[in-house]
Symmetry: C2
Subunit: 461 residues, 2 copies
């Protein structure tokens, strides 16, 4: 056993320092699969003080730390492949406080997203940030990546629900940022700096999250759409007429994969695009408005067919058509892009994107879907079975470079909500200028002067 490991074992009880190969593999990677995990060890702290001790130890030993939540990330932000110590927050999973007047839950960083949602529901309230990985992702990771998901159109991103965050910096200092206040104009808002910092500025150990009223009688529709222009028209119409909580879309190819994995066809009609619309129906008038909107859309030719959930079971089945896409593709280990443009630029960007893929991916199946109301598209490129993984990734990387050029033309971003991590690092300079990247590097040095916090993620320091 190395001296480094020996000293680590002095910090934590032995059952909370893992070094078995299977643990190193499990904790050393996230949902990206192209980075071979190779951490030195996995540490499982149970308190803020233990996290501080780990940081101070890492500085002393010059060992890098990789903060680790549910590892559901898709950009390699939680990957440890160079002898780092993974700091898993899974033992820090207590709900610390509920305040019914402030309507906040204060939790440790390792609380699972779904646990937080459930805790809110038990109090008659609602934590609205939601996405497919809700059963594994942790709130600390959500903050570190500023997670978005399927309700952004109505409820915004994780940062919008962050009332306070406790962080351990790269010198072992504990910062309590904002402490749950609604208004606090006392200098730079470090809370917002940590949101989306991907573990490079500090280790998130606790958070106070805002809650809201549950949506009133959410209703779900799925509709078939003949073309992209119709989709944008339908979006504008529904947004103007209904209190939307989600507006998601997917292609016929995406639907085919979900149907092949047990999904239920929503109706007989077929179309190149489908939309899932969720909205609140607090009263009769809203239900009527939804029907009238559908009829208007059908008359205009924007909507070919549609179905409205008649039960919670059917609502879940309809949602599965959208949320089941990732799972239906998982066995193919797709190469993923996650891009965004301003909503107004979606049609023009999509036309250019489709032309690019037709030209550059003639033999690959490309499945796309996403959050059209946020201007956010997810693209999954499927590897032909005969092709070697490394060749496939290289080829996709090449086309991603060209996709970045298309995005630049349309003022878009190469990472809408998946973060930069390792996967998007080569493309960061297509959305951030050299001056911005240099400022970010210097900011990292302020918070992490010894360079021990998730080094090599986001940018090379």
């Amino acid at each position: 056993m190395s001296d480094v490991l020996a000293s680590l074992r002095h910090l934590l009880p032995s059952e909370r320092v893992l070094t078995e190969p299977s643990d190193l593999e499990h904790y050393g990677r996230d949902w990206t699969r192209q980075y071979p995990p190779a951490p030195l060890a996995v540490a499982l702290p149970e308190s803020v003080e233990e996290v501080q001790a780990l940081v101070r130890w890492a500085v002393e030993q010059n060992v890098a730390l990789v903060p680790s939540g549910g590892r559901t990330g898709l950009s390699g932000g939680a990957v440890a492949m160079h002898g780092e110590v993974v700091v898993s927050m899974q033992r820090m999973h207590r709900i610390l406080d509920f305040d019914p007047i402030d309507r906040t839950l204060t939790v440790e960083a390792g609380v699972i997203t779904e646990t937080l949602q459930q805790a809110a529901r038990e109090k008659g309230l609602y934590y609205p940030v939601d996405f497919g990985s809700r059963g594994s992702s942790q709130i600390g990771g959500n903050i570190a990546t500023n997670a978005g998901g399927i309700k952004v159109i109505r409820y915004g991103l994780t940062r919008d629900w962050l009332a306070g965050v406790k962080v351990v910096t790269g010198t072992g200092e504990v910062l309590e940022c904002n402490r749950g206040l609604v208004k606090n104009a006392t200098g730079y808002d470090l809370r917002h700096l940590f949101a989306g910092s991907e573990g490079t500025l500090g280790l998130i150990v606790e958070a106070t999250m805002r809650l809201t009223d549950p949506p009133r009688a959410p209703q779900v529709m799925v509709m078939a759409v003949p073309d992209m222009d119709s989709l944008m028209q339908a979006f504008a119409m529904f947004r103007a007429r209904l209190p939307l909580t989600a507006f998601e879309f997917f292609t016929d190819k995406a639907l085919a994969h979900v149907l092949a994995h047990g999904g239920k066809r929503p109706f007989d009609s077929e179309a190149p695009y489908y939309v899932l619309v969720e909205y609140e129906t607090p009263d009769e008038a809203t239900s009527e408005a939804a029907l009238a909107a559908f009829e208007h859309g059908a008359e205009q030719g924007w909507l070919i067919d549609g179905v409205m959930a008649q039960s919670e079971t059917q609502a879940a089945e309809l949602w599965h058509l959208r949320e089941g896409i990732t799972e239906s593709l998982a066995s193919r280990t797709p190469y993923k892009n996650d891009v965004s443009v301003r909503v107004s630029r979606v049609p023009a960007f999509l036309a250019d994107m489709q032309a690019l893929f037709a030209r550059e991916y003639p033999d690959f199946e490309v499945v796309w879907y996403g959050h059209i109301g946020d201007g956010n598209l997810h693209i999954s490129v499927l590897r032909p079975e005969a092709m070697a993984m490394q060749d496939f990734v290289t080829e996709c990387g090449r086309v991603t470079g060209m996709l970045c050029e298309v995005l630049q033309r349309h003022g878009g971003s190469i990472s809408a909500e998946h973060g930069v991590g390792l996967l998007k690092k080569p493309y960061l300079d297509t959305i951030r200028t050299p001056a911005e990247i240099e400022l970010m590097r210097q900011m990292k040095r302020v918070f992490d002067p010894h360079g021990i916090l998730n080094p090599g993620k986001l940018f090379d320091s």
Copy 2:
């Protein structure tokens, strides 16, 4: 004329470099009145390039710049008292772009808040950040202070509507932060760092602001409340039953000043506290819910009397009871505190605050009011006419130090929405730790290595 001034006059046409004593006084101060203005000159740039040139000139000449919006600030953040050059954005007041699909307005920093609100209305949309100084304050200053105001309970703060911001750093670099995207997970979100940075990290030159749907049939009520507990009960009830857009309160003393300045008494009953409630009434059911809530509150003894606006004119009269407070006190040049606690801590904090003021301000009139739904109280201490201004400010500063101790006990903040500037600088360390302040100092050095941007504001560097 000094060499420095001569070189400044090479940068801009002479009519845009002001040095008349009346101009230096006018542009050298904000709505605080205790700092004698003494800038070297006032520069009125008309373009981003001119702002860059000013910054580069300031670095070369080692002259400090004070960015200047509508100078409606209440903490001295825009005061120039040490030979700085004031950079007024008033000539940069163009509306650059409107996007109906993204629902954004892109504007230069010098656009007046009310102009932005009006431009949104003309497009059938709504810019919801609103406060008494809407007719003078500028959007750049709103961002630099993360302005809040009277609709925070429903719509949040300025940062929540900021889709993108263009900034000139202390080295003359232009940063375009976020570019109007809804989702953009590509590293540290500098946009949120500039919100609330009080001109110490960069000069805000342009911004893209999000708009939303106008509120549906806003209705206003003013009610009399017998005590603080009743007020909190009433707040919880109204929040649960109505789509609140504002929940403001004020004391009998505040009302008396407004009435003495032409305000209209809302009803005959008198009470120690009054609340103004604004909510949307999209349908009959909401109107009924509002009446039922009032009746329930009256039965419980939480509400003594009340009035509901029967016309837009009356709504404006009711709003004037709250918004007219500042103006009604202006001639007394009050010493202001602007504090916040978590909403749940309001009653306990208020009890301690009142005890403190009764003990320490036995001879001063203290008027308070504020945004109870945000946990934010404004406190105006009035100077006895016989007391010299300097003695008064010293005495208020002493008690503010004690108020900070009360705030610390309740986890509160000494600046809820007015910022730190010069006035709150001595108290910054009661809400931010030495470690945080040191990190802020280092961050300032990253963005402003030559220390030319609003030096001495927020903290001493």
